[in-house]
Amino acid sequence: MGKYILKRLLQCVVILFFVALVIYAIMRCLPTSYVESIARQRASLPGSKSYTEWLEQLNAVYGLDVGIVRGFFKWLKSAVVLDFGDSWYFNIPVLDKFKSVIWYSFVLGAVSFFLEIIIAIPLGIISAVKQYSKIDYAVTVFALIGISLPTFFFATLLKLIFSIKLGWFDLYGIVGRYYDQLSLGGKFLDMAKHYVLPTVTIVIVSIGSTMRYTRTNMLEVLNSDYIRTARAKGVPERKVISYHAFRNTLIPIVTIIGGSLPGLFSGALITETLFQIPGIGWVSYQAMVGGDIPFSMFYMIFIAVLTLVGTLLADILYAVVDPRVRVG
């Protein structure tokens, strides 16, 4: 097992190296006039450095005057010691900005992920057990509608209904107008209230795939021989479902849940942007649209690492949960 993990880790490092190279190459292939215009724009901001200074800094930091390969290794050299440079858009070190916003995203991700699981898994199992019943159709339609809903449209609908028509929630932001005057408990409640709509958006939009996945797996398990054997032995149907089938369904589900744990940190780009939750998603959206290469570069590498860790985690979990799977 240890050897397998080590091998996979090495593989991940190699993949990450190439991913970084590809992203870096794309960034470098952006026409230089773009970088220049950003420099000009930055220089025109009050209290900023002059245009030539910015351009020099850009060239120095990114080695834009040297070739792509050399520039990449220069970037890599500082990146391996976790030095991602200064963000141009926010004018502070990339990592400082990251540290200040990541927990907003994590809370949003964790709460919605938790809700998603406790809603999706039971519904998926019910719809599989009662295949082709009305409940199954309802769950299927609900899941597919969730998958098909454009996030931005659903979020806007929620805003229209709950923020504007009913006035229950604020349109934007993470805290209310009187946040600073509230007590500690009040502050918590205020922030929680601002999380409601974004959480609902994420849960509804992403619940569908988990639900379908659970249903498919449960159906597969229900069609397997040992379930037929159990039924033939006269095991009560309730026990067949809850004991024999459910436990086996959990294998792939635990695997994908484990695999999506790192994703809790990746932030919800569209939802955060729409609700102006100052998490990593919104911040990196601002950075990307503002042409902030150091931050965008960092964000993309961060997401790539999370994807790799997620896949690795899923594979390891699969071996841990299912004794039939042998690693190597």
Partner: protein, 517 residues
């Protein structure tokens, strides 16, 4: 599709026993017929098909039927209130001056005069010269110097001249004010006789002997907002009357004016007609879903937007399928080093976060100001190029298992060329899964495209796309008040993507030979 091979074998065996024209012959269905039968038995799949067909008709045929163009701007005359005049009740004293009579040191003079008037004194001093004042009438004073000469007349009333070449001299003013105060009907200045009249609004008008109106007296200042328009007596008195009666509008000369009371002055606004874009018109007979910010018909934009979204969806899916099938096929068939290299490339592509990358490329295209049409082509290529690894992985997995089967050994034995073996014998067996993944992929691509267009980074104006129609909600006022601008577009996206997902789901079940029904 190993099952379909099996089915064929079974059919051949039965055919040996039962002749083709035998009455008892079991009705034989081809595998594709079976799939079709299973598909149409799935209610959701049928609903999805109806959705998609409806969206196609709406987008491609609707665009032809619609009498309007994609970027046709509707304009209309809109009544707008524009400043016409300003009126104010005058409380400040003005001094009458003419060529022969000037007020000495005016600001000090004014200050001293007001001081003397309010404290009830009849004398004041300016630069050691003494002046006396005498009340001539309501808010009107005559001011004499120490020698007894008339210096000026101070009054809050104005003498508006109606005739171009008529000058109000100090003597005239004094005589007129005196006549009004004494309620005389006429007075004489410089040998000319003048008459005092009172009009309906109780303003005094001074006429000459031919009863031609010369001067209009009022304590209302009414100034035209335009230099070249001079308001007539009648108009001014009409304005005064309307303001004093507290009316909100008044009519003069067939035009309606609006009165807006302000803190210091009252604004008179005239209605002018302006030819403007028909923005945010509510749904009506001409525009079933109203018009958008640019005055374009929303229903027509939705139709053209549908064309763009569906076309982008199909082209992207075709691009990614072609790439995926070629690379996945090669990888699965040859295995070994080639497989390893291609699969590592797939891994790398899987790791590259596509949404941020597309957003960055979109922002870059914004900065470069790429032509919207070329931009659309770039968008399709980028989305297609980022989407192929999923297809490649699926094709490879299927081919890995298929190439070990007997029919592949047979193709090898008959000496069929490698490319034919891959693309004629292996790939067709992957097509069911491919169709399912493509149908689902279509929905996904439409979602991605609309999200990008919503963020302003995808399809750009003047081209319509469902996403960029919804973009209007970034203005909260539009979101709140003009539902017809963005809600229909949202439902178009939802219905189309849902349709593709229903069909994909139905197809997956239909292709699955283990399906019970």
């Amino acid at each position: 599709m190993s099952k379909s091979e099996l089915n064929n074998n079974n059919t051949q065996q039965t055919e040996e026993v039962i002749a083709l024209d035998d009455e008892r012959r079991v009705k034989v269905l081809s595998p594709s017929m079976l799939v079709f039968k299973r598909f149409i038995r799935n209610k959701l799949a049928i609903v999805g098909t109806v959705f998609i067909v409806a969206m196609f008709i709406f987008s491609f045929i609707g665009g032809l039927i619609s009498p309007y163009g994609e970027a046709e701007v509707f304009r209309h005359y809109e009544e707008m209130y524009k400043d016409y005049a300003a009126a104010k009740h005058n409380e400040t004293y003005y001094f009458t001056e003419d060529a022969n009579h000037k007020v000495p040191n005016p600001s000090v003079f004014n200050f001293k005069f007001v001081g003397a008037k309010t404290s009830g004194k009849t004398e004041f001093t300016v630069d050691e010269d003494k002046f006396t004042l005498e009340e001539l009438g309501e808010k009107t004073y005559a001011i004499y110097s120490s020698t007894g000469d008339l210096v000026t007349v101070a009054s809050t009333y104005f003498f508006d001249t109606a005739v171009e070449d008529f000058d109000v001299t100090l003597d005239f003013r004094f005589a007129a004010q005196k006549a009004i105060a004494d309620k005389e009907e006429s007075f004489t200045v410089g040998g000319n006789k003048y008459f005092v009249k009172t009009n309906e609004e109780e303003n005094n008008i001074i006429c000459n002997a031919d009863s031609k109106e010369l001067v209009f007296i009022s304590d209302y200042i009414v100034n035209s907002a335009y230099n070249d328009i001079k308001l007539s007596f009648e108009e001014k008195s009409a304005i005064k009357e309307a303001i004093e009666s507290g009316a909100e509008t008044y009519e003069f000369d067939g035009n309606t004016f609006k009165i807006e009371k302000g803190m210091y002055e009252t604004k008179i606004k005239g209605i002018t007609k302006a030819y403007v874009n028909l923005s945010y018109a509510s749904p009506s007979k001409e525009h079933w879903l109203g018009t958008d910010a640019n005055g374009m018909d929303i229903l027509t934009r939705l139709m053209y937007g549908g064309r763009v979204s569906l076309m982008i969806g199909f082209i992207v899916v075709i691009v990614e399928t072609v790439l995926g099938v070629i690379l996945g096929g090669i990888s699965g068939y040859f295995g070994g080093v080639v497989d390893n290299i291609i699969m590592r490339i797939v891994d790398i592509f899987n790791c590259i976060p596509s949404t941020p990358l597309i957003i960055i490329l979109g922002a870059m295209m914004d900065a470069m100001q790429i032509d919207p049409q070329i931009r659309m082509i770039y968008l399709m290529l980028i989305l297609g190029f980022l989407g192929w690894p999923g297809v490649a992985r699926l094709v490879r997995g299927q081919i890995l298992s298929l190439r070990e089967q007997e029919f592949m050994t047979a193709t090898e034995a008959t000496g069929i060329s490698v490319s034919r073996r891959i693309f004629k014998h292996l790939v067709p067996n992957v097509i069911p899964q491919l169709i399912v993944i493509c149908t689902m992929g279509l929905g996904g691509v439409i979602l991605t495209e609309s999200t990008l267009s919503f963020l302003g980074l995808g399809v750009k104006f003047p081209f319509a796309s469902w996403g960029n129609i919804i973009n209007a909600v970034s203005n909260v006022f539009v979101m709140t008040n003009y539902w017809f601008v963005w809600i229909p577009a949202g439902f178009c996206i939802l219905i189309t993507v849902l349709g593709f997902n229903f069909i994909g789901d139905g197809l997956r079940d239909a292709f699955d030979p283990k399906m019970k029904r």
